[in-house]
């Protein structure tokens, strides 16, 4: 069998492709050609690596968290890959800087982005400021409320934030609006998509930009601890931080892969965002993948306390890994995630994003399935500052 790592689209098994209006094909072809040329160009690779070293703050460190791990049902060692320490506070910057460099290469002057939690929007606004690009961020109206601090950050950075009032007024609708903008302004605008979903080449390209996470982590585990982890854990919204961690390990068959989706009110309710657990293959936002939908193929609204996981679709590579059985995807409820968020804060002094907290809760749950003394590496995809309002309300901290 060929290596799983080599899969590079447009299809991952039966998933992926380009289900978009003809109006976008030329832009996607241009992006693909520009990306392929950049990938093979040492100057580009050097430029991006230098940006990561001098601006993002890469490599991100690995922190072992024994006090947190002691709360698992069985004995495990837990390690965090600290993407929360990146400039702007999450993994999103890895992809944004890569695509911003490509925007320059294509001679485009304007970027648009969708955002759920606001982290991708903040990272995009940051790159726009750094490179002198015009930036418009589409954000569901519901999310502008629950992530108000990030809206202020984007505005301070000089971006225009457009609240999206159509549909469920969350991430899915923000993507629709960004696609409409792109169709109309494709000659000067790059759509800086923030996760591993969308039409080819986005799932492959965004994965490649995030694969720095797993490449670093794999080398760090070997160098600092002398072994590879037995399991990886990451939260899955669209799937970018998860695939970024997983990719380097796809062909390490002794390393188990666990993705954690938002189960919202619970896996026994219909208020969740557990696309890979409860969805069916279909076409949404330009790719064939698992998605939450009714029997007529209408997208069903997702629910999660976490804006960044509140999405009824998922990247095609994850659908493929699920069907292959290479990765397992499980659900974590709002309550479980919030417990884990507080636990990591109190045991280790690290406040994670609510998205990330799903992976933390998941790691504690899978511990009992692993061999005694097993090690779990978690992608700590983001920091929790943006979630303080939600957390304060949830835990009643401001009374």
């Amino acid at each position: 069998m060929t290596n799983l790592r080599d899969a590079s689209g447009p299809y991952f098994g039966e998933f992926g492709g380009r289900f978009v209006p003809e109006s976008l094909i030329e832009a996607l072809d241009q992006l693909e050609a520009t990306y392929e040329a950049a990938k093979a160009d040492p100057t580009f690779q050097f430029e991006l690596a230098e940006l990561h070293r001098t601006y993002t703050g890469r490599p991100s460190i690995i922190t072992e968290v024994p006090r947190f791990a002691s709360h698992a049902d069985s004995e495990v060692r837990i390690f965090l890959k600290r993407e929360d320490l990146n400039h702007t506070g999450s993994h999103k910057i890895n992809n944004v800087l890569g695509q911003a460099l490509l925007t320059k290469r294509m001679g485009k002057t304007r970027i648009i982005a969708e955002t759920g939690a606001g982290q991708h929007g903040v990272a995009s606004a940051t790159a726009a400021a750094l490179f002198g690009l015009e930036c418009v961020v589409y954000m569901g109206e519901v999310d502008t409320e629950r992530q108000a601090l990030n809206v202020a950050r984007m505005k301070l950075l000089g971006a225009e934030v457009v609240p999206v009032t159509s549909g469920s007024r969350t991430l899915k609708d923000a993507i629709n609006e960004a696609l409409r903008d792109w169709v109309a302004n494709v000659d000067n605008t790059h759509y800086l998509l923030g996760t591993v979903a969308g039409p080819h080449p986005f799932p492959t390209m965004v994965r490649d930009f995030h694969s720095v996470i797993g490449n670093e982590a794999r080398a760090q585990m070997l160098a600092e601890f002398g072994f590879l982890p037995d399991a990886l854990a990451a939260c899955v919204g669209g799937g970018s931080n998860a695939i970024g961690l997983f990719h380097a390990f796809l062909d390490d068959t002794n390393v188990a892969l666990y993705g954690f989706e938002a189960a919202g009110d619970g896996m026994d309710t219909d208020r969740h965002a557990a696309t890979l657990n409860f969805g069916k293959p279909g076409v949404l936002h330009g790719a064939r993948s698992y998605m939450l939908q009714d029997e007529d193929g209408q997208t069903v609204e997702s629910h999660s306390i976490s804006a960044g996981l509140d999405y009824p679709g998922v990247g095609p590579e994850h659908s493929w890994l699920k069907d292959l059985g290479r990765a397992q995807y499980r659900g974590i409820s709002d309550a479980e995630a919030m417990d884990a968020l507080r636990l990591l804060s109190r045991t280790e002094g690290i406040i994670p994003a609510i998205e990330t907290a799903h992976a933390l809760a998941g790691a504690l749950k899978i511990a009992s399935e692993l061999k005694p003394g097993a090690s779990i590496l978690i992608n700590l995809s983001g920091r929790g500052d943006k979630d303080m309002e939600t957390a304060a309300k949830y835990f009643g901290l401001l009374k």
Binding site: G17, R18, P21, G167, A184, H285, G297, Q298
Partner: protein, 260 residues
């Protein structure tokens, strides 16, 4: 077996006329009212009808059609009612009925079953705004098997190779996108549309081209008809219906195709 849609274009051409294609969303404001509206359009100037399937994520549609299809879904529109509506309209009028649908509803219904049921209902074929020929393998097969028309889009940014492919694979006509945008009335039709139509003509001489996206006035239809075989009008019909019901819809149809 020749395409009923292509036959309309040919008949109109023979009598020196252009073809008007009119869009109306299914299930808006209710299924029956959308059927009545569609029939009225066909009786008053629309040569070919385009019935839109309401969809949760209509990325090619502007605010007017988006809002109408959101209402249709909220009012309980179900995909299988598409076939009821197509049957009702084709029984009442002779205009061919194309269904305009995003791809996922067809995919979930089953491509072959959709084709078979559409044929049985008397439908002429599909316009597929988010299905490019590259991804259309199943649909090419099913539309051949059931002798259905298939309309692909050609845009100002499509390469000559892609325009040729869309022209070769389309049956009925090619949908020439007038402007780089989404549906919705625009004040000026891009000179780009002329380019797309010319490109279709040069790559595929027998093919019909109709220009759509952003055409809302009689003058715009006339302008498009100077160089294309027909014009496609959507949002303007929906807006007319919203402001003055069937009466204004009928007036709009008449004004857009005065020679009918």
């Amino acid at each position: 077996m020749t395409s009923k849609v292509a036959a309309i274009f040919e008949a109109n051409r023979a009598s020196g006329r252009k073809t008007l294609i009119g869009y109306f969303p299914l299930g808006y404001p209710t299924l029956q009212e959308s059927i009545d509206a569609a029939i009225a359009m066909c009786e008053n100037g629309v040569d070919i009808l385009e019935l839109g399937v309401p969809y949760s994520d209509p990325v090619m549609d502007g605010p007017v059609i988006q809002a109408a299809t959101v209402d249709a879904l909220a009012a309980g529109f179900k995909l299988r009612q598409t076939f009821d509506a197509v049957r009702a309209v084709t029984e009442a009028v002779s205009a061919p009925v194309l269904v305009m649908t995003y791809w996922n509803p067809v995919l979930q219904y089953g491509v072959e079953k959709f084709a078979s049921d559409l044929k049985a209902a008397g439908g002429a074929g599909l316009i597929t705004p988010d299905l490019i020929p590259d991804e259309a393998g199943d649909w090419l097969e099913a539309s051949d098997a059931y002798h259905l028309d298939r309309v692909f889009l050609a845009t100002p940014t499509s390469t000559p190779e892609r325009v040729k492919r869309a022209s070769d694979l389309s049956r009925g006509f090619v949908y020439a996108v007038s402007t780089m945008g989404i549906t919705g009335a625009r004040s000026e039709i891009d000179a780009n549309a002329r380019k797309v139509v010319a490109e279709v003509r040069s790559t595929h001489t027998g093919q019909n081209t109709a220009v759509g996206i952003g055409i809302s006035t009689g003058e715009q239809v006339l302008e498009v008809n100077e160089y294309a075989d027909g014009a496609i009008v959507g949002s303007a019909f929906v807006r007319a219906y919203q402001s003055g019901g069937l009466e204004e819809l009928v007036e709009t149809a008449k004004s857009l195709n005065p020679n009918h």
